[in-house]
Symmetry: C2
């Protein structure tokens, strides 16, 4: 049976890195006879430029029937002045919400070959391997009402609504506990329950779900403390679970601890395990078009996709081994450049992974 992958290059460095990832996908597709078919579609700023919408109907229709989606990145200063409703990010948020991709898995792993790349001292980060589970289709990102209104005294006021229901919390809790079961069996739930009522409910539901997983330990931490602990002693964590907004901030901080955010893939899954896969980093408009971006996070996102959504574990393993091999060979894109290593282009990095497969 053929499997359909939708490829969404997006904006900035998106097209460059996705190009290399698709070459890798094609190679394992042949080698392992996976029967994967893929097609591309527009999303984000480039979709807006061509169609006036950051998430054209045709793209959404294709996304809905795909077995998996590979996304590059969206956004850039070019579209900053636009109304919120047509901003590139709206395309990404629209995909997440329309496909109910509520469970966002963001690993923060220190690659032994890149141990020097971190800004943290080696003893603090060596061997770091944490997983942030971020709720992706609720919270303040999607809460209503929202907007900018004019008050009686004539001044304007901006407002957004932070909201979570029990069922939304329950399903992301289960995602986190399931993931922890495959790892270190510890979940740390992040909230701000000393100030925000939403997160009082969050904490309560986490406790309730924890009863279904007696083999997994649940602890709680306030978000400000979590931001501190990530800097001070990140290895204390196994799985961290949190809402959309806190997850956005903490997962980026955690990824950066490794010094190699250009290496980190992510998965956004729905209840049926269908998913969208993308690098943890953004569209990096400052280096777009120069052929220097690191394609490895996107290539590793292909591996995650093969493993989680396409039941092709051997192909996933092969890609991850190939990436490890090119790192062993001393090849580095400029974001992870290091003394004694060879700095290569986006394309050359893709070539090397293909050769190592």
């Amino acid at each position: 049976m053929t499997k359909k992958v939708l490829v969404l290059p997006g904006d900035g460095i998106g097209p460059e890195i996705v190009e290399q990832a698709v070459r890798v996908l094609d190679a394992v597709n042949d080698a392992f006879s996976l029967g994967i078919e893929h097609e591309s579609a527009l999303v984000g700023g480039s979709a807006y430029d061509e169609t006036g919408s950051p998430l054209p109907k045709a793209t959404l229709a294709k996304a809905k029937v795909a077995d998996a989606i590979l996304l590059g990145a969206v956004g850039g200063p070019k579209w900053d002045g636009l109304d919120m409703a047509v901003r590139p990010e709206k395309g990404l948020l629209g995909l997440r919400s329309n496909l109910e991709l509520f469970s966002n898995l963001r690993p923060a792993i220190l690659y032994p070959q890149l141990a020097d790349a971190s800004s943290l001292k080696p003893e603090i980060v060596a061997g770091l391997d944490i997983l942030i589970v971020r709720e992706l289709t609720g919270g303040i990102y999607f809460g209503q009402p929202r907007g900018i209104r004019t008050l009686e005294n004539g001044e304007r006021e901006g407002f957004n609504t932070y909201v979570y229901s029990e069922s939304e919390i329950r399903r992301i809790a289960r995602s986190a506990f399931e993931a922890a079961r495959q790892r270190g069996k510890r979940v740390c739930s992040i909230d701000k329950s000393n100030v925000l009522e939403v997160t009082v409910l969050w904490k309560e539901v986490m406790e309730e779900v924890a009863k279904e997983y007696p083999d997994v330990e649940l602890t709680h931490m306030l978000v400000d403390n979590a931001a501190m602990q990530l800097v001070k002693a990140p290895k204390q964590f196994d799985v961290m679970v949190t809402g959309n907004m806190f997850g956005d901030i903490l997962s980026d901080a955690a990824a950066m601890l490794t010094g190699s955010i250009g290496m980190l893939p992510s998965a956004s899954l729905n209840a049926e395990g269908r998913g969208m896969y993308e690098p943890c980093h953004g569209s990096a408009p400052d280096i777009a078009g120069q052929g220097v971006a690191n394609p490895l996070a996107t290539i590793l996102s292909v591996a995650m996709m093969l493993r989680y959504s396409l039941a092709a574990k051997p192909a996933a393993d092969a890609i991850e081994a190939a990436v490890s091999k090119v790192l062993d060979q001393g090849l580095r894109t400029s974001d992870i450049a290091s003394e004694g290593c060879t700095t290569v282009s986006t394309q050359a990095m893709g070539d090397a992974v293909l050769a190592a497969l």
Copy 2:
């Protein structure tokens, strides 16, 4: 003319560290004939235990007539089960909001004597000196409506409101630009304007206020990127300005970069320059009562208080010099313990600062 200082020891390690800070205050009061009178009052969990309220009326009345307030810390697991309305944190938030202490200044400074304490590599943090200006009386901390409600389908939903008006943004913007004028003349405003409407308005008003300060440079950064940049290259910042929630998270992360959060004071000021002064760290219930907490952040908060609210700059300078001297002497509380230095108790650290004055 006498000046009135209200002392609020609070919970956890609060009373221990405040005791040492008050000894220092008394010493400079005598030495510099400052005419300061101080009295204590209850706030937080200890206030709740005695009076049933985390901010008793008597405390608020005294706070309103004080020239400055010195606070230890509030909160602890003992009070976690309580209803939000009577939680210790409510006492702190009540003070901030009743006294309109909208401008929270949180420096993150690496003390040269403590260069080793940071988890970051020396080349990343050496000489770090950034100031986070956090809006403290608005945003999602105070937004209405808020609470937990039951939906039609019977499940519960938690909700909070993130809100800022133009005038609230304008006054914190001015605080940040004024502070930047005294420093590196650069303000970086942190928002999430690609998703949240409140912060679209935030960004707009920042630009508007920037026109009043042509000598100060304004840039913008998304909050997720800011969390990354703090880890990657914190020295790129001079003044960062942001809302209450983002400021809570980022200022704690920034403080922890220095490895010596036990050293960092903070000021919360109103429009007239009256203020509340407190350490950046929390009530640390795990070490409360053991006499090992670091009193230096609270002692340095006294220095900030003398400088900003009590027009006693020479006394402030004297305290800061004394703190620097005890660090030079190699005295350290256990949070900043280091090979070759002497680990001392809270009280012994207080003694040493007094002796060095």
